[in-house]
């Protein structure tokens, strides 16, 4: 109950403080972005995520309050910023989405199939359960330092795998993540491309996801961003919470470590 009140209070505080910051400053769109002021429709999704956390759901009719995101059962403040990390109960490194999936299955009795049926919104949707929960949980880490686990050997091998995957060129276009995100000061069309191999670029990117994508009217998560980059690389569909999805996020989070979480952001 106390944590719920604290969470509600922090949602109220959101209304007073600027809600987000653009990930990149690149001149040409400054006027456009400035006109948005601090009105980010992500507030709706954050609210819904909070409700979902405390709602009884699934065959077991349970809330997610018993979910351990790494800092103990039910601790939500600061948990997002310390992911991905190794969890002994699953014996694997997990990002926010695979951990939430684990809790939905274990605590609420949901099935993997239903969780994976539509984890991310299609255009025109107002949001999925996963997106709402991730948005709220990320907001619970706003202002805190990004500090993914790197003490456990599995966490270090996840980083190494993430690096390999970052440079993995495949598909008809020979693209890898590094094709677009391996140099600084570049852009695609007019969009600035953060150099995700360097701290500054990784910090800008990692700290601002999840984000409300104004082009889509949807809050998108970092897991979705990984999936969509692979789509644009002409690769098959990345599975939410999979080994590769987690490894790439570990690679980015470690490169971004020390930077301050500022999500949910607002993006093109």
């Amino acid at each position: 109950m106390i944590s719920r009140c604290a969470a509600m209070l922090s949602s109220l505080l959101l209304l007073l403080a600027p809600l987000w910051s653009w990930a990149q400053q690149d001149g040409i769109f400054d006027e456009y972005r400035a006109m948005f002021g601090d009105d980010n429709p992500a507030v709706f999704v954050i609210d819904e995520g909070e409700e979902l956390w405390f709602n009884e759901a699934g065959p077991k009719s349970m809330t997610l309050e018993g979910c351990d995101l790494g800092l103990g059962a039910g601790v939500v403040e600061g948990a997002y910023a310390q992911l991905p990390r190794y969890f002994a109960d699953t014996d694997r490194v997990q990002d926010i989405e695979s951990r939430l999936e684990h809790c939905m299955i274990e605590l609420q009795g949901k099935t993997r199939e239903e969780i994976h049926a539509k984890p991310y919104s299609l255009r025109g949707d107002l949001g999925t359960e996963m997106e709402a929960l991730v948005a709220w949980l990320a907001e619970q880490s706003r202002g805190l330092a990004i500090a993914p686990g790197q003490a456990h050997p599995s966490e270090r091998s996840s980083y190494e795998l993430g690096e390999q995957l970052f440079y993995f060129r495949a598909g008809p276009h020979d693209f890898s993540c590094a094709t677009c995100h391996g140099q600084s000061g570049k852009r695609i069309r007019l969009q600035s491309l953060p150099d995700l191999t360097a701290h500054e670029g990784a910090a800008d990117a990692y700290s601002s996801w999840p984000a409300y994508r104004i082009s889509q009217g949807i809050v998108r998560t970092m897991g979705w961003r990984m999936r969509d980059c692979f789509r644009q690389q002409r690769m098959p569909e990345l599975i939410m919470g999979s080994e590769a999805a987690v490894a790439l996020q570990t690679y980015l989070a470690v490169n971004a470590a020390g930077a301050t979480m500022a999500a949910p952001g607002l993006k093109r």
Partner: protein
């Protein structure tokens, strides 16, 4: 000499083994979607060679081999027939669709040149991953210039191994006719890429 070569080969094999782990992890983390299937995770020799983090030096001999085999496989149009229609080429340069699982496979693929290159000086939405090609036609119109451009578009690795540019011809992204249209967009004096820029 022979020892060195064996050692290099040995290192390459070790690298390949590590890379295979990445491929396996990726395969188990992905699912077929529409017409895009898991075989896209399989890499050819060039892709594997070019998948190293920048800090790792690739060995020159392999790079030379890859460059030569890329060059040898480029079909060069006969009779110097390189140039199509610049207006159709402009559409190819602007179109970023094709081969993504969200794309309609019945539609022709785009070249998406503007994602990375400046071309028409009046188009502000151009990327900077590749060099500006504005005024490209002023670089020359000789047969060797045409042939160079054709090979570059067909398989960039024939000149620059591990360039970021897709192999538009060799990978079957664009048709020969589409490539000729892009050639015209780059080289035709009437193309906006060259407007007023060819003396």
């Amino acid at each position: 000499m022979k020892t060195i070569k064996t050692l290099t080969l040995c290192c390459l094999l070790i690298n390949a083994a590590v890379a295979d782990d990445a491929a396996l992890a990726l395969k188990s983390s992905m699912a077929d979607k529409n017409f895009v299937t898991l075989d896209r995770v399989e890499r050819d020799a060039l892709q594997t060679f070019c998948s190293k983090p920048r800090s790792e030096e690739g060995d020159t001999e392999t790079a030379n081999d890859l460059r030569e085999s890329a060059r040898a496989a480029v079909p060069v149009p006969a009779e110097g027939d390189f140039l199509g229609d610049w207006q159709r080429g402009e559409a190819v340069a602007n179109n970023g669709r094709g081969l993504q699982y969200s794309d309609n496979p019945q539609q022709p693929n785009g070249g998406n040149c503007y994602a990375c290159h400046q071309l028409d000086p009046d188009e502000v939405a151009y990327g900077t991953l590749g060099p500006s090609l504005t005024g490209y036609g002023a670089r020359g119109q000789s047969l060797s210039m045409l042939e160079y451009t054709w090979i570059k578009l067909w398989n960039t690795h024939a000149y620059n191994v591990c360039s970021h540019m897709p192999r538009f011809g060799a990978a079957g992204i664009l048709s020969e006719q589409q490539l000729k249209d892009v050639m015209a967009y780059l080289l035709d004096p009437l193309s906006p890429v060259n407007s007023g820029l060819i003396p």
